[in-house]
Symmetry: C2
């Protein structure tokens, strides 16, 4: 919520955006990006000149309805030339027309602090940001109003001028794609770019990535970079950077901090930790899942605790998990994926002949998202047995997502195991699929595939489930 008090919601003299705060965000027509480097023009510019205010100044705005608004003047990319963009203390940007402002008091002049470009190196530095696309670096498409990736990392850093206080940063645009277009061959390119960055001497790497398939990429990088000299932090944004409720700035700042300070050599996903903006959570790359289509705290650890909590405002890193992979002496890259795999989710009515069809399409491995402890109808047993005999790996995960499969409990599980199905413990279906693609490039026969699949390589299997790993439900309270 905005930090401007509950009453503001009902005060009709306030502009709609301020009255309804962030909840309105998804309904409010978005800023249209006219130009990403220009800032205030026209009326707003004249208003600011009158007070001698420049971007970065900390302001106290007395509004015409008697209320006050305190925050830092940010660059505006709105087409509405009357809008001032104020960054509130809670990290959010709000847009307000200068027409609603009675008077302005400058609390502290920072001037160059924001207006000045953050220094971005081409290579090296303490942290390297590798940009692949996604909402964290997106802008609005003129014609359709839809969001499209466009801003460069340099441009995004204009939004987070604090970044330079965290350390020296270099940036590289590797791709500019929405993450639903991500492919295993791109995972290989990202892994290579990460390795190159560490070879250049950075302490940590931030990978800016669309959120849709970020967890898949996190798993792919985890298996490809089993020895790392420092943290690899995947970060994205659930709300694009032109929106007042955007999580771009907080997530990016927090990730730079984590990449520099994190005393581990693991791949993590670092995103909003809870409803408000107090911290982000760094989730182990093989134990994380996007669990909500739009919430900023969409990414959550499954069958695992997050590795760390990052207090972006306090610039403090708090480790949650003790057992982390240590920084290695060098970064060892072992990449390559065989995409001849299939993820088959079971449902009542699914016919077992589907297995034949999948096998005949040339796949080398199938991950089943079974029911409960790892089941399909028994009718699948002969079809799966035939597939395994033909050299196709068949692994079992659960569509429950939480908990582990255990195929010893019921007759069905035992029958499927006897047919050659391998239970994959508490591995997430998506992680099992990515791991299988990676394993198939390395194993010489089915027995080796099976061994590698049930071997805990980078923390993708967790046998110690504790009660707090299952989230608290009961929304009826």
């Amino acid at each position: 919520m905005l930090g401007i008090g509950r009453n503001s919601k009902r005060d009709p003299s306030l502009p709609l955006r301020l009255r309804l705060g962030l909840e309105l965000d998804s309904f409010f027509p978005r800023f249209e990006v006219s130009c990403v480097v220009e800032s205030y023009r026209g009326e707003a510019s004249a208003f600011l000149s009158k007070y001698g205010i420049t971007e970065g100044d900390q302001l106290l705005l007395a509004l015409k309805n008697g209320k006050e608004l305190r925050g830092t003047l940010m660059p505006s990319y709105s087409n509405d030339e009357s809008i001032l963009v104020i960054k509130l203390e809670n990290g959010y940007n709000v847009g307000i027309s200068y027409k609603y402002v009675e008077s302005v008091k400058v609390i502290e002049r920072r001037g160059k602090g924001v207006g000045e470009r953050t220094t971005v190196l081409a290579t090296g530095g303490e942290v390297k940001i590798i940009s692949t696309g996604g909402t964290i670096v997106s802008k609005i498409e003129y014609e359709t109003g839809a969001v499209r990736p466009a801003l460069s990392t340099e441009e995004i850093l204009q939004f987070v001028p604090e970044a330079k206080e965290f350390g020296t940063v270099s940036a590289e645009i590797l791709f500019s794609i929405l993450s639903e277009e991500m492919k295993p061959t791109y995972w290989e390119k990202i892994a290579e770019a990460v390795k190159k960055a560490f070879d250049e001497g950075v302490r940590g790497v931030v990978v800016a990535h669309g959120t849709d398939t970020m967890a898949y990429t996190a798993a792919a990088l985890s298996f490809s970079l089993r020895t790392l000299q420092g943290p690899v932090v995947l970060v994205g944004s659930q709300r694009s950077s032109d929106r007042p409720s955007s999580d771009s700035a907080i997530n990016l700042l927090s990730s730079i901090l984590l990449a520099k300070q994190g005393e581990f050599g693991e791949v993590v996903v670092n995103m909003h930790g809870e409803t408000s903006d107090t911290y982000t959570l760094a989730h182990r790359g093989v134990k994380v899942r996007k669990m909500h289509t739009s919430r900023r705290d969409a990414f959550q650890s499954i069958n695992s605790r997050p590795l760390a909590r990052v207090w972006w405002r306090e610039r403090k890193l708090e480790m949650i998990e003790d057992e982390v992979r240590q920084r290695g002496a060098s970064t060892v890259l072992e990449t390559g994926f065989d995409d001849r795999v299939f993820l088959l989710k079971y449902w009542p009515g699914l016919r077992p002949e589907v297995v034949e069809q999948i096998v005949s399409s040339g796949v080398r491995g199938i991950i089943i998202e079974g029911t409960g402890l790892g089941h399909t109808s028994k009718e699948f047993a002969p079809y799966l047995r035939k597939a395994v005999k033909e050299g196709v790996f068949v692994g079992m995960t659960s569509q429950c997502l939480f908990g582990a499969v255990n195929m010893n409990v019921y007759t069905t599980g035992r029958t499927l195991m006897e047919a050659g199905v391998t239970p994959l413990l508490d591995m997430l279906p998506e992680v099992a699929l990515v791991k299988l693609m990676w394993v198939l490039k390395r194993a010489s026969d089915l027995e080796e595939v099976r061994k590698l699949m049930i071997n805990n390589l980078v923390g993708e299997i967790n046998v110690r489930h504790t009660v707090e790993m299952y989230p608290r439900w009961d929304s009826g309270r």
Copy 2:
């Protein structure tokens, strides 16, 4: 946890089961069911005779280690003839050898209360229990040690003698299958049996069902029985009834209560509500999912609040959701499912040609489990367009599970919609699949399929998401 105090965990004089309590449950060799109608024999029987104790008596056992155990003597189906089964006040059964018992004091004699068979009618009564199989009515298989459905509803009612205090109960064994063997044709049989029960005049129906596919059946019944004279309560058990931590008794009792007292005409899933045993939660049949492979509170509402909380001990029903479907004047059955559908989960690397393969196998509809707000790679657009042109319905859901799809936000979503993909809002992928099977039997053309799919028929679409519908994570606290 067991109600016998924390210290008991470390007391080596106690039997292993009591020392480690329920946590040990999954490791402890299970009771083997020798006979489901007999009870105490041999040594235990002699011990009980000595004290003149019969099943149902409330006892205070002084143990040899100085501790006490208070509870009700239950029938034992253990092969170990030394075991006494005591139902603790928290609802759990524990097994303890009489050898660890120093002395027994009878607190209250109930005698016939438990030993006596609960009266089970063949038809009518206030509540009808339709048994389809699953763990709630399962026993251990001799040869393998695995669990197999076997016990009749009558036999299960021996475990919950309190049932008769809730009302008159009739029971029917419809099938005896593990729920992974459930099929759309069986859904039809269950729906018919439910209709028949209401026609016989019951107030509510309990459907005992395996947990693996219970949510699918709940959705199928929801669409088939849109007008209901009373509650249809699906219930199962995550731990079989022979295990001390079994949730069979609590879930079944609570469901009988709900079926009789619930003032609504909806299909719900009623299972353990939280870690302990204080209440069960009744989830709307089209908004529920099994979210854990083994926990007793595995079933949770997604994008919705539970309808009601059932305090089984207090015999109290607490409504959580105000907007429920009212009891109708008659039960209207409209069943039938077309299983020529496919649920396709998208992942990076999935090739778009898979759409052609699915369509050529003769399906009439595809539900995509897309990423984020409802995406696949853009490469899928021409393939999906072709499928839709050939009369195949293509609906979009999200693998995030929480939140709604919104295909207007990004270019990819707009492209897919333009190709003919229908966004299915916040419908769960599994519910969308079951609904599609039902709709395909009723609609005469693709346009009608589309209309019915986005029409909120029985609460499967919820547009009012509130913050508490997303469970609380952050297991690092």
